[in-house]
Symmetry: C4
């Protein structure tokens, strides 16, 4: 654990200067060491997919609608299990002690307080059992395939025993290209940031032979395949979601093989640098799988309007990643809970102004694409006047 107290340690309440959920980002940049912030904020490689994730939201406008009755409005939904109070899920984030000494324990408390479904990471700093104890009733477990099926199965059994309601298997990062931003900032993962869940599990086998590719015959040798997915499905009664689906053909394949639901995600821009924006892939995935399969969205959400747009383009709910970490870094459980409250109210205000009383009212006809020539010299001309 990180012995050094974070700024949040001294905090006794909501920090000043937070007017919207995204404001935790700027505060985190001040609270964290530069290299740590670079690691969290950065994406793989040159941040191209990271940037694309954000830019994609700007390609859509939301139609305001008038005089609709939303007095009985709410944000409840079901994803196949117990009803959720709102569609904001806490994305699985590894090694949360990197930003707060009590890491995932604080996050779990915030999830509980805000009726939020939390996805605990295989690579959490605390054991999944401890996270379960700290949090509320709604929790899912994010699973990485381990080098051996025995090790994978051990994690599944523990998650079942600890009352996790679903498994979310992340498949989009068999290789995780480094973040150039983090490397240039000199980031190194602290020695005490270790995956508590994997203690005692066997290490990955030795990699490539001389002459082999460090990538193909090395890192990818133990990468899972479709048979591993089928095997996993057969080992558990828990619903198995898949995280990292971008291509509609993969989406269709997972549905056919019994996935409980899909998470459209490019790992927050932390895997293939050059992958499309998550929001760009979402409509095609939804179109392919139809209405029968729940689809979550992950990638770049910073405000309620972003949530609205993702849902309009096909998502049933969304995962909140970096904002979660920023709020945790700034103010622990209180920060995460506050961030979630702000984000939810931003979503509700957006729904109200768009005339949507429930999540089911949010559809593609709520959006209007920006014209292709939307960036004009007009704004530059205005700038001259000031």
């Amino acid at each position: 654990m990180n012995a050094q107290p974070t700024p949040a340690e001294a905090a006794t309440g909501i920090p000043a200067g937070v007017f919207c959920a995204q404001d935790y980002e700027a505060l985190a940049a001040k609270a964290l060491a530069g290299a740590t912030m670079a690691y969290i904020a950065g994406g793989a490689g040159r941040d191209q997919t990271l940037d694309a994730n954000r830019a994609a939201f700007g390609q859509w406008s939301i139609w305001p609608r008038l005089l609709r009755d939303v007095g009985a409005g709410h944000t409840r939904l079901s994803l196949g299990g117990p009803a959720l109070a709102h569609p904001l899920l806490l994305a699985p984030v590894a090694f949360q002690t990197l930003v707060h000494p009590r890491g995932e324990i604080e996050t779990a408390r915030a999830a509980h307080a805000t009726e939020t479904c939390m996805l605990a990471s295989t690579l959490s700093s605390f054991r999944l059992e401890d996270i379960a104890s700290a949090g509320g009733p709604t929790r899912w477990f994010q699973l990485y395939f381990q080098p051996s099926r025995d090790a994978t199965l051990a994690l599944v059994r523990r998650a079942e025993a600890a009352g996790y309601g679903a498994l979310v298997v992340t498949l989009d990062a068999p290789i995780q290209p480094a973040s150039l931003r983090a490397l240039r900032a000199g980031f190194r993962m602290p020695a005490d940031c270790v995956p508590a869940n994997l203690a005692g599990l066997p290490a990955a086998p030795a990699t490539a032979e001389p002459g082999d590719s460090r990538i193909f015959q090395g890192m990818m040798r133990t990468a899972p395949g479709w048979d591993d997915f089928d095997w996993l499905r057969a080992q558990t009664r828990l619903p198995v979601w898949v995280k990292g689906v971008m291509h509609p053909d993969d989406a269709a394949q997972f549905v056919q093989r019994g996935a409980a639901g899909l998470v459209v995600s490019n790992h927050g821009g932390r895997s293939l640098d050059g992958a499309p924006a998550s929001l760009r892939a979402l409509p095609a995935v939804r179109a392919r799988v139809g209405k029968g399969t729940p689809v979550l969205f992950d990638g770049g959400i910073r405000c309620g309007e972003d949530v609205f747009k993702a849902m309009a383009l096909g998502a049933d709910a969304v995962l909140i990643g970096r904002l979660q970490v920023y709020a945790l870094a700034v103010a622990g459980a209180l920060g995460v809970a506050h961030m979630l409250k702000l984000l939810r109210e931003e979503l509700e205000a957006c729904m109200a102004l768009a005339g949507c009383a429930t999540l089911a009212d949010i559809g593609p006809d709520c959006l209007l694409p920006k014209p292709a020539n939307a960036e004009s010299p007009q704004r530059a001309a205005d700038a001259d006047l000031h």
Copy 2:
């Protein structure tokens, strides 16, 4: 009232450095406190709709035409009532004492001097009767539905009695998300900026119960519905316009229910941040309601070419919001009158060069869309040379 004299107090004439209507913007930025300017200039949330409003004008070019006879040209029009000298209307702006101690009284005097139709706000710093006395013969009253129909009706009756020629009911801001720019600048509405028209009217009822949504069951509980619009129409012989229409389906509904006309507006980017540019919505609204219904445009106009573009895309006339406030802040009635004169001449010069002798000559065939690849590296390359 604001006891502190504004810079305009000492002014004895047209300020130096004003070469076009928009130049009042830069002068206002100097004359006003930073937080006040942020509040006025900013939009809701992240200013996305505010920026889109401006950028939309840059997506269109105006065809110059040669040798057309415009020697008998004029800008007269009718919006169902008495003829107007020109199509520039003063948008309803709340709390004008924020920028000038005599606020709406000065604005009304400028309207009178320039034969301009002024829309007085429900939330004006002065009573609607006082504004009526100060101004010219052409004035409309902007109405916000009050928590009770009795209170709403009281305002209607007073507007009728004071000789307002039309009601313009604003429907696009049942919730008004805060401006992050204003919040960050530390803006707070001064205590003496209060809605003079609402003195004595009952306050809004207590809002949401514990567990309710602060948005849906709180702020939206007393929001008006379609029945309220029908009720209002039945209470008065004044023509009832609707301000804030963006979606063509809403537009059609209002026409069917007897609206006298529509104002395409997104509240100057101060309501739903993420709404399309007003100019983007305008052609669709005009196409839906046909030629029979007058349509006004509001959102981002800073120069005569902007007015021309809005009219070419379907507007019968336009509302001037922020420029009005900037000119008022800088030079009171004289400033507003001067700004209107400049803007009108900018429009007339644009009409002359586009070969349009009357407003009726301004149509979609006067415009050419910018190509989608209009932003090129060329300009950046040029920049290197200087």
Copy 3:
């Protein structure tokens, strides 16, 4: 005349640091007073059309072609009169003593030395007869309609007598909106910059009555009409070209009424701010008038590739405006001649690499439009690396 010697006075040769024709722009910015440079470089209003003129070139790429024999290549052409050595014409520019004490005389000498057709302006600082004497055999006279037909006719007769080979009547600026850039820089036309050709001609009649529009009943009262164009055509045997044509309908009308040729131009962005880029209008004009009518292009040319693109999109030749002034300011006749030589060689090199041996080989199939998504985050990402 400007008594104060310009930097060019002391110059004894080609200035250092000129590697391409456009380099005269940066040197002029250093040689001229800031306000003067703002007046010359700026466009009407907010420079939107000025910027569009430049940006339009960036929307096209030029196909390189291999192994074509251009060893007999040349740039000769005919525009209905004597053959021209190359398609670069010197645009009519008023008041050239603003930048050089011998103004148009120097320009005429440069035209002579480089076998360039010069268009002398009605508003030249020197008399058209003096310009004729100083220059070479190929010269056209740019005509502004005067308030009276007698005055106009007097100019025509003088141009005929002085051996000008064509009249180019400029019709796109009956009103010339001020340049905000020049106004803000404090530019005023020096008192000694007067139109030598108009000495003794009657002044414009008094303008608008009280209550009249300063634009419609004022400035536009004496603007010419179609009958004036027909009248002019009937007064002279000189070919009458029209400068300022942008809309294809106007173009067709002029051809029908006997114009010898057209100049697609928006007055270098100095007339209607918001007009399309000249290059954007060019293909539509060419398509409308067919191959039978010569079409010149004016607007934003800074290098040989720009000339090539204009010719590929329909121009027979091009006018060079601002570069002419910049070179004149920097180094007088020598500068203008050098600039023309550089520009011609840039064009020839471009032709050679595009496999075009003659101007007739340059056509639309030499170009490729840039894709609409051509501006990418890639370049920004690269920038981070440096």
Copy 4:
């Protein structure tokens, strides 16, 4: 030779701060004199094609694919000769002693060490025989047509004798317009940078007559034609590739006349400034020549994702130009070898994440075009928050 030791002289290993292949660019900018870096990094004219080459990669995204088995993955390919270990070829680069005293000798050693096919330039600082001795078994010779066929043939015979496996005749730069960036930086080619291969060959004949065009009758007089290409083909049994093909019609013509393969290239933006991005031309060339003709790609590659995109759009392999020079400047043979290793692993990681086990799996369906409105105000808005 350059007597002054470069920074690489003292280097004993991989330089610090290189996290990806492109990082050699920033290090080279520090290691080289400013003018030299400007010459290497710059393109012809205003760098428009140079910039377009880079920007074109940003117009495409790469689909990530899940669970595909790439454990037997590799990057082997054949271009008609012996199998190549990977598709990264070292582009022909002239005068490499400009950046390293042992220039092409070092490059050849790096090629050998990394199983890379090197293309030795006609204009190399060392004799082609010396380069051949220093390098590995796979080398091609880049040929410029000389003023006389005898001189050209002499080079061909020497290349054959030295064991070069193919001729790559470069045809896109009969004129090479100067780089304004290099000129402004004051770059001059050092006197000791001379083409070792051309020692003893006759100089080009005297150029244009008085009155002739310096371009058409001068530089282009000795430019090769289609008959020269046919002649060359007939002189040698080596496969003859053509470098510099952009237009599909030229591509088809070369295939018909027996070219062994094509290199789509605009000379790295160093020839016609205004030519399209190489990546823009590539799909059209591939579509025209079909699958039967090998096509290489050259222009702007900086990372593995760029390689992947070029191959997906039709290339069989790619040439690495500027990165080669940057790495050579920084760390000699070790630098070039390291850069190639990094670039190859970047490609392999990209293939793995895109689910491609072999180069044959990389096709157009691996890519997704960016939407035309991809650049949004969103990112600017985010910037305000930091």
